[in-house]
C-alpha cells in the first residue's frame, strides 16, 4: 500500500482516502488546502510534519505501524494527539452512534425489545469508555507530562497504567455490539439508518484500535524508558 510523503499535496490524501479528513482536522489543519503540500500546510499550522505523516500513514495502511519512528517522537506530541482523539470520540463518534442506535430502535416495530437491549448494552459500553478516557486524562496523561517537563516532581516511580486489558475489553465489546446487531436484529428496521450505523461503528472500531495501540505500544514504553532515565 502507498505511503504518503511530505511532498504530496494535502488534497491528494483526502482524494485517496476520505476517512483521513477527520484525522487531518484533529491536527487543527483546516480545509482550503489549495495546492499546498503536506509539509507546507504542517508548517503553516505549526504541526510536526513527520509526526503528522506517521499518524496519517498508520491510519491509512492497516499494516503500517512505524513503531521505532513513533517511539522517537516526544511523548508530549503523542499525548496531545491522544487527547484530541478523545475529544473527537466524545463530541462526535460516540453521540453519533448513540443517536443512530436510537433511531434504529425507533424504526423497529413497537420499539423491539431485542433492539432495546442492544441500546442498553451500548449505553453501558459508552459509560465505561468515558470512564476510561477520564482516567487517562486525569491520571495517565498528566503523569506523562510531568515526567517529561518536571521529572524531579515525580513521586511514584513504579507507574504502570497496565490498561492493555482494559483496551482489550473495549475492543471485545465493540465487536460484540456489531455481532449482536448483525446477527440478532429483527428484520423490520430502517435500512438506511442501519447502514449508516454499521459504517460508523466499523469506522470507530478502526479508529479506537489505532488509538489504543498508540497508548499500549508507544506511550507506555516511552514512559517506562523515561522512568529508567529519571531513576
Amino acid at each position: 500500500m502507498q505511503e504518503f510523503t511530505k511532498g504530496d499535496k494535502m488534497v491528494h490524501l483526502v482524494q485517496v482516502n476520505y476517512s483521513l479528513l477527520p484525522v487531518i482536522h484533529r491536527f487543527g489543519i483546516r480545509l482550503g488546502f489549495g495546492n499546498r503540500t503536506v509539509q507546507e500546510l504542517c508548517k503553516l499550522y505549526g504541526v510536526n510534519t513527520d509526526f503528522f505523516l506517521a499518524i496519517v500513514n498508520t491510519f491509512h495502511n492497516k499494516n503500517f505501524f512505524p513503531e521505532t519512528q513513533l517511539l522517537s517522537f516526544s511523548p508530549l506530541l503523542i499525548v496531545d494527539y491522544l487527547k484530541k482523539t478523545h475529544a473527537y470520540y466524545v463530541s462526535f463518534s460516540l453521540p453519533q452512534i448513540e443517536d443512530l442506535i436510537h433511531r434504529l430502535l425507533l424504526s423497529t416495530p413497537q420499539q423491539n425489545s431485542e433492539m432495546k437491549m442492544i441500546e442498553t448494552f451500548y449505553l453501558a459500553y459508552k459509560r465505561k469508555l468515558l470512564e476510561h478516557f477520564k482516567e487517562e486524562e486525569e491520571t495517565v496523561f498528566p503523569y506523562v507530562e510531568t515526567l517529561v517537563l518536571r521529572p524531579s516532581d515525580i513521586q511514584n516511580h513504579n507507574f504502570d497504567a497496565n490498561y492493555e486489558k482494559e483496551h482489550e475489553h473495549v475492543d471485545f465489546e465493540l465487536d460484540d455490539l456489531k455481532n449482536l446487531i448483525l446477527k440478532y436484529l429483527v428484520p423490520e428496521y430502517d435500512e438506511l439508518v442501519c447502514n449508516k450505523l454499521m459504517e460508523e461503528i466499523y469506522r470507530f472500531e478502526k479508529d479506537i484500535r489505532d488509538h489504543s495501540r498508540m497508548e499500549d505500544a508507544i506511550l507506555m514504553p516511552q514512559v517506562a524508558h523515561l522512568l529508567k532515565v529519571v531513576k
Binding site: E114, M117, I118, T120, F121, A124, Y125, R127, K128, H169, F172, E173, D175, D176, L177, N179, L180, K183, Y184
Partner: protein, 195 residues
C-alpha cells in the same frame, strides 16, 4: 467416539430399507447384520451414541441389557412385524411397526443424534445454555462449576465454545444475547451485570 447405528434383522430387504432411511445422517456409521450374534464389540465399543434397531422377537435379552450398560447414550428400537407379535416392552425404548413410514424412523434418529454435545452446528447445547444462563446471572467460573458439579476447567471450555459459536466475547454481550434468546428474563439481571 462417534455415532453408531446398528441394524439387526434377518431379512436383507428390511435391512436395506432401514439403511437407506438412515444412511445420510451426518457423522454416523451404520452397521447392518442379520442376527444379534453377529454384532461384535468393535462395532459399538467406542461409540458416544448408539441407535440399535432389532426385531422385538430378538432372544438375546441379556445381551441387550448388557449393551445398555456399556453405551450410556443409547436408543433401542424394536421392530414389530405385526400386532400379534409378543415382546417385552421394557427391552425397548421405542417400538416401530415395519410398515411405519421411513420418515418416522428418520425423525426419531435425527432427534436422537441432534441432542449431542459435539457442537458442529452453531446452536448451543442444553449444557452450554445452562452455563450461559449462569454467566448472565453474574456467576463466576467457580460458582458455575460448583452448581453444575463440573470442574472450572470444563466451565472454561464451555465458555470458549459458547463464544466461538455466538461470536460474542464479553460478559455484557453474552448477557444481552441471553436476554434476547429468552434464556434469562431481563428482570433477573442486576443492573451492574452490563457494566
Amino acid at each position: 467416539m462417534g455415532q453408531k447405528v446398528i441394524i439387526v434383522h434377518p431379512a436383507e430387504l428390511v435391512r436395506r430399507g432401514l439403511v437407506s432411511a438412515l444412511e445420510d445422517l451426518q457423522r454416523t456409521r451404520i452397521i447392518s447384520v442379520a442376527t444379534f450374534a453377529e454384532v461384535r464389540s468393535e462395532d459399538y465399543k467406542a461409540a458416544a451414541k448408539l441407535l440399535l434397531l432389532v426385531p422385538v422377537t430378538c432372544h438375546h435379552t441379556s445381551e441387550l441389557l448388557e449393551l445398555r450398560t456399556k453405551i450410556g447414550d443409547h436408543l433401542f428400537i424394536g421392530i414389530l412385524l405385526h400386532d400379534k407379535e409378543k415382546y417385552k416392552t421394557d427391552h425397548f425404548d421405542k417400538v416401530l411397526r415395519l410398515d411405519a413410514p421411513a420418515r418416522q424412523l428418520r425423525e426419531i434418529a435425527e432427534r436422537f443424534f441432534e441432542q449431542d454435545d459435539t457442537g458442529l452446528n452453531d446452536e448451543l447445547t442444553a449444557r452450554e445454555k445452562e452455563v450461559l444462563r449462569l454467566i448472565a446471572l453474574g456467576n463466576t467460573n467457580k460458582t458455575i462449576a460448583e452448581s453444575l458439579f463440573i470442574s472450572t476447567h470444563t466451565v472454561i471450555s464451555h465458555r470458549k465454545n459458547i463464544t466461538e459459536k455466538l461470536g460474542i466475547k464479553s460478559i455484557p454481550g453474552l448477557t444481552v444475547y441471553a436476554i434476547i434468546q429468552k434464556i434469562v428474563a431481563p428482570t433477573d439481571i442486576s443492573a451492574d451485570q452490563l457494566s
